[in-house]
Symmetry: C2
Subunit: 598 residues, 2 copies
C-alpha cells in the first residue's frame, strides 16, 4: 500500500520563495494569511491527509459506494473522516466570514486541495463539488438564498453538486431537456434526469444542495435558454433549518474505471422544488464561475496524481534490486543494483517529479491570479490577471491531467508486473486519474476553448500578457551565463509559439477545421512551453539561494537538476506537436465517415 | 457493450495484396496454405471470435477468476468456449503433423491470434501460453518427452505455462531461487515459488504443463546457472496418460487492473517431479525460443486493442450527436452533428485506425519472417530474416503495446464521460491492454534489448538489412510523383535514424548510461519510422490497384488517406523523440538517489 507524504517543503518553496505569497497576501488585504498561519495550515492539512484521508484510499477503491433503493453508502471510514474534516473547519477555509468562513485566500484552499486529491481522489471530490456550488451561489444567488443555503455549505454539514449533464448531452449543454416550470410563489418545479452527478447522493452530510441547469418553457433554443436553479435534497425553511424531502432521488450509481469511492449518480428530479439563481436564461454564463474554478481543481488532480505515483515509484525504485547498472556495479554488496540506477527508470521518475513540481508552480500561480480576481482593487491589474487566467486555465486543466495520467502510467511501469496488481496501489492511481482527462470538459474541449474561443477569438491578443512576462524574464536574465541553458530554449519556443499561433490563424481563414485539427497538439505544445517557463523561474530562485548561501543546498541543487531535465528531456516533445500542427488538417478530413472501416 | 467484427477485408489486404502470402507459402512448401484455405480459416476464426469469444469479454471482466483452496474457476462460459475452441481444432493449426497438428504456417496462427486478442484478451491468453510451452518443448525436449507431452498440448486438452518470475526477480532471472535436485531416475525434485503465472491454474483443461526455470545445486551464479524443466500438474505415464497429482499447487491468484478473466497465479512447487529440457544450465537460452514468439504475440495485442477500441469509438462517433461542426452544419435535420465531424475526434479515430492497420502490416511481416525461420532452405535468406526479426521484434512489442494502449485511451476520450463507465466496455480495453506494456519484458526492457544488446551490440550492423529494404523501396518509387509525399519523409527519417544511431554509439563510448538514457525514445522513434515504411508500402499497393481499375476503390482510397494521416500526423512525433535523445543523459543522472525528494 502507498504511504502518502505531503510535499510540504516543495509547497513552501513555491508559495514563499517562487511566488512570494507574503507580499501577495498583504497587498490584497489578507492580513490573517501570515507566513506562520500559512505554514500552520499546511502542516495541519499534511497531518490530516497523511494520517486520516490517505489510509482510506485503497479500501475506498475496493468497497466503492453502494446503492440501495435510492440510498447511497460511502465506504468504511469515509463518514468519520468527513466529520473530522468538517470539525477541523476545513470547508470554511477560504469562505466569506459573512457566512461563517475564515476569509482566507482562495489560493490557500487550492494549495490544500492538492494534498487531499493526492491522498484520496475520491474523498477529495466530496468537498470539491461543494466549493463549486458555493461559488455559484455566492456569485449569483439572492441575499435570501445565500442566507438560506450558504452557512451550512460553508460549515460542510451540507454538501453541494453541479447537475449539468444529461444522457444525450454533455459537452453540448444547449441540448438539455430538464424542465423548470414556475409556481405561483416564484419557485419552480424541476423535472428531468441528470447523469454523472459526482457526490449526487451519499451519507456524509445532512443535506445535499444541487445546482441544476434546466430550461424554462418558452426559453430560446440552445445555450441562450439555460437557467440555473438551487434544488435541495431536503427543502429548507427560511431560517435555514431542514424541512421535508424534495422530489429529488438517486436512480442509480455508475460502475466506473476508477474513483470508486465517489458516488457518480443518476439524479431524478420529479417536480422537485427549485429556486432560480440569477436571471432566467442566463444560466450558462453563471456556470462559468464554477467551471473555471473546477478546471483549476482538475489541474490540481493531475499534479496530485503525479506526486502520489512519484512517491510510490521512488520508494520502490530505491528498494527493488534488479540487474546491474550498465555503467558499472553500484551496489556491490547486494544481489543486484537498486533499479533507480537505471537511466530509463530515472527518466520516468524525473518525468513524474518535473510534472508534479512544475505543475505545482503553475497551479499556485493560477491560484494567485484567482486571489487577484477576488481582491485586487486596481482594475488594470485585475484585468491582466483575468486574461492570463483565461489563457492558462484550459492549458493547466488538460495538460496537467494528461501528463498526470502519463505519470501514473510511469509509476506502474517502474513497478513492472507488480504495478498491475491492485495491492500496490499504483494501478488505482491510473484508474482514478483517467477521469481528470474527461470531466469538466475533455482534453479536446479544453483545447477548443483555448485555441478556438480564446486564441483565435481574440486574434491572439490573449497570448500577449503571458508571453510578455516570459520575454521580460528572459531579457532580465539574458546576460546571466548560469541561466543561458534555460533562457535560450525558452526564447526560441516563445517565438515559435507565437509563430505557430499566427500560422494556424492564417490557415483557419481558409478552412475553419484547421483550428480543431491543430487544437490538442497546440494545447500540449503550450503546456510544455508554459511549464518550461516556470521551471526556468524556479531554477533562478534556486541559483540565487545557492549563491546567497544556504543550509538547504541539496534541495536547491535538485531543483536546478530537475529544471535541466525538464528543459532537456520534456520540452523537446513540443517539437513533435509543432511538426504535427504544421502538416495541417487535410489528412484528417479526407475520409467520408462511412469509409473509416470496410 | 462492444460488438467485435473481425477486420477480414483488411487482413486479406495485408496478407494477399501487401505481403503476397500465396507465393510466400508456396515457396516455403506450405502446400496446404492456399488462398482458399487461408480465407476459409480466417472466415471461421472471424465467426468464432465474433459470436462465441467476444460476447464473454465483459462478463469475464466482471466475474473474474475465483480461487478456492487451490482450485481456480474461470468465468461463466469460458469452459464451454474453450471446448469449442479445442473441438474446432484451433490449437492444432500451426503445430507439427507429427504430433497431431495441421502443419499450417506459423504466420497464419499469428494472424488468427489478433482476432482472439481483440475479442477477449483474457481468453486469448489461455491458448497463447500453451503455444509458448509447446514451442519450447518442440525445440529443446527429448523425443520421449515430446511424445509424452506434445500430443495433448497440440490437441489443446492440456494447456501450458511459462514459470519464470519469482517474487524478488522478474527482469533479472539470474537471481532465481527455485531449486531442482536430481533423483536417481534422472528426474528432478523442483521446489520454489513462482509468481505472475498466467493460466497457471484453471478449469479449462485436463492437465497443465508448466515450463519452469530453476537452479540445480552447484550451478554457476546468475544467468549461466539456469536450467529448464517440464513440471506437469498431474504426472504423466510414458504412454501420455494422466497419473497422480504432482507437488504443484496454486497458492493464490492476483487481483489486477485488468485481464481479470485470466488467472494470474502464485504457483508453489513442493518437491514436484520435473524433467530437464535441453542441457543443464542452458535454460535461459532455450527460453528465448519462446520469448521472441511471445513478444510478437504481445505486439498483436497492441493491434487488437487499437482495433477493438477503434470499432467501439467509430460506432459511437457516428451515432453521438453533440455540437455543430465549426466549419458549418453537417447534419441539419438533427439536433446536433455526429461527433465524427469534429477534427479532433477524427484525429483520435485515425490514430487508432493507422496503428491497427499499420501494426497489422508490421506484425504480418514479422509472421512471415517467422515462417522463413522455420521453413526456408536457403541459409542466407534465413539469416537475413532472422536479423530483421531480431531488430523488429522489440520494436513491434513495445511500440505497438504502447500505441495500442494510447489508442484505447483515445477510445475512452471519444466516449467522453461515458468512456469511464464500465458498461460501454471502452475502459476495460484500457485496463486489459496496460499489461501488454509490462509482461514479456516492459517497454524499458524491450528498449534496452533493442538499443544496448542488438544495435550497439552489433555496432549498428543489425539495422542495415531492414534500412536497406527501406532505401530500395524509396529508390524504386523515387520518380513516381504520386509516391513523393511518402518517399521523401521516409528517406529523411531513415537517414536520421542511422545518424541518431551513430550519435548514440559515439556518446556511449564516453558514458555507457547514454544507451539507457536514449533507449525508450530511440525505440519509439524506430517504431514511427518502421510503421511509416509499411504505410508507404500499403499506399503503393493501393495506388496500383486504383490505377489498374477496381470495384473496391473506396477501400483503396481510404488506405491512401490513412497513409497520409500517418505520415503527416503520427510520424512527426518522432521529431520530439529525436530532440530528447539529442540532449543526452546528463540531466537524468545528476541527482543522487536520496535527493529526489525532500
Amino acid at each position: 500500500m502507498l504511504e502518502y507524504k505531503a510535499p510540504v517543503r516543495d509547497i513552501k518553496f513555491v508559495m514563499q520563495e517562487l511566488l512570494d505569497c507574503e507580499s501577495h497576501y498583504q497587498h490584497l488585504g489578507y492580513q490573517d494569511a501570515s507566513i506562520d498561519m500559512v505554514d500552520a495550515i499546511i502542516g495541519e492539512a499534511a497531518k490530516l491527509t497523511e494520517k486520516v484521508i490517505a489510509p482510506l484510499n485503497q479500501i475506498g477503491d475496493q468497497q466503492g459506494c453502494s446503492w440501495n433503493d435510492g440510498v447511497v453508502t460511502t465506504p468504511d471510514g469515509f463518514k468519520a473522516a468527513y466529520k473530522q474534516y468538517v470539525d477541523g473547519g476545513w470547508p470554511t477555509l477560504s469562505q466569506s466570514a459573512e457566512f461563517g468562513g475564515q476569509g482566507l485566500p482562495h489560493s490557500l484552499n487550492i494549495t490544500i486541495a492538492e494534498l487531499f486529491s493526492a491522498a484520496n481522489h475520491s474523498f477529495a471530490m466530496y468537498p470539491g463539488l461543494s466549493h463549486g456550488a458555493l461559488a455559484t451561489i455566492e456569485a449569483h444567488a439572492s441575499d435570501v438564498q445565500k442566507q438560506q443555503f450558504m452557512p451550512k455549505l460553508v460549515e460542510g454539514t451540507w454538501t453541494g453538486t453541479m447537475c449539468l449533464t444529461e444522457p444525450h448531452c454533455g459537452t453540448d449543454l444547449g441540448m438539455l431537456r430538464t424542465k423548470a416550470e414556475i409556481y405561483d410563489d416564484g419557485s419552480y418545479s424541476i423535472s428531468g434526469t441528470k447523469i454523472f452527478i459526482s457526490a449526487g447522493e451519499h451519507d456524509l452530510s445532512d443535506n445535499i444542495v444541487h445546482i441544476v441547469i434546466a430550461r424554462i418553457p418558452g426559453a430560446p433554443q440552445g445555450n441562450k435558454g439555460i437557467s440555473l436553479f438551487i434544488v435541495p435534497k431536503f427543502n429548507v425553511n427560511n431560517d435555514g433549518s431542514i424541512s421535508d424531502r424534495n422530489g429529488v432521488s438517486c436512480g442509480s450509481i455508475e460502475h466506473k474505471m476508477g474513483i470508486n469511492a465517489n458516488a457518480t449518480c443518476v439524479i431524478n428530479f420529479d417536480g422537485a422544488k427549485g429556486y432560480l439563481i440569477g436571471e432566467e436564461n442566463r444560466g450558462l454564463k453563471c456556470m462559468f464561475t464554477f467551471m473555471n474554478a473546477a478546471r483549476i481543481g482538475v489541474a490540481n488532480e493531475g499534479i496530485a496524481a503525479a506526486e502520489a505515483s512519484f512517491q510510490g515509484a521512488l520508494a520502490y525504485a530505491k528498494d527493488r534490486l534488479q540487474m546491474r547498472s550498465i555503467s558499472g556495479i553500484k551496489n556491490p554488496d547486494g544481489a543486484a543494483d537498486p533499479i533507480i540506477v537505471h537511466p530509463d527508470v530515472r527518466r520516468m521518475l524525473l518525468t513524474q517529479k518535473s510534472i508534479a513540481e512544475g505543475g505545482r508552480a503553475l497551479v499556485s500561480y493560477l491560484a494567485q491570479l484567482v486571489d487577484i480576481g477576488h481582491a485586487e482593487q486596481d482594475e488594470a491589474i485585475k484585468a491582466d490577471a483575468e486574461t492570463k487566467l483565461a489563457l492558462l486555465t484550459p492549458i493547466a486543466k488538460a495538460f496537467l491531467s494528461e501528463l498526470g495520467f502519463e505519470c501514473t502510467s510511469h509509476g506502474v511501469q517502474i513497478f513492472g508486473g507488480h504495478g498491475f496488481i491492485k495491492e500496490w496501489g499504483m494501478e488505482q492511481l491510473m484508474r482514478d486519474t483517467k477521469i481528470s482527462c474527461l470531466y469538466e470538459g475533455t482534453t479536446g474541449i479544453q483545447a477548443l476553448d483555448l485555441l478556438a474561443r480564446k486564441i483565435i477569438g481574440s486574434k491572439g491578443e490573449i497570448l500577449k500578457p503571458f508571453v510578455n512576462d516570459m520575454t521580460m524574464f528572459c531579457q532580465e536574465n539574458f546576460d546571466n551565463p548560469d541561466m543561458a541553458e534555460f533562457i535560450k530554449p525558452i526564447m526560441a519556443y516563445a517565438k515559435e509559439w507565437r509563430d505557430i499561433t499566427l500560422a494556424i490563424g492564417a490557415k483557419a481563414q481558409k478552412n475553419l477545421d484547421e483550428i480543431g485539427g491543430a487544437s490538442v497538439d497546440y494545447l500540449m505544445y503550450s503546456g510544455y512551453v508554459t511549464l518550461a517557463f516556470f521551471w526556468a523561474k524556479m531554477a533562478k530562485v534556486a541559483q540565487d539561494k545557492l549563491a546567497a548561501g544556504t543550509n538547504d543546498s541539496a534541495f536547491y541543487q535538485a531543483k536546478i537538476n530537475t529544471a535541466q531535465f525538464f528543459i532537456q528531456r520534456m520540452l523537446p516533445r513540443a517539437k513533435g506537436h509543432a511538426a504535427c500542427i504544421e502538416n495541417g488538417v487535410d489528412s484528417m478530413m479526407a475520409l467520408n465517415s462511412e469509409d473509416f472501416v470496410f
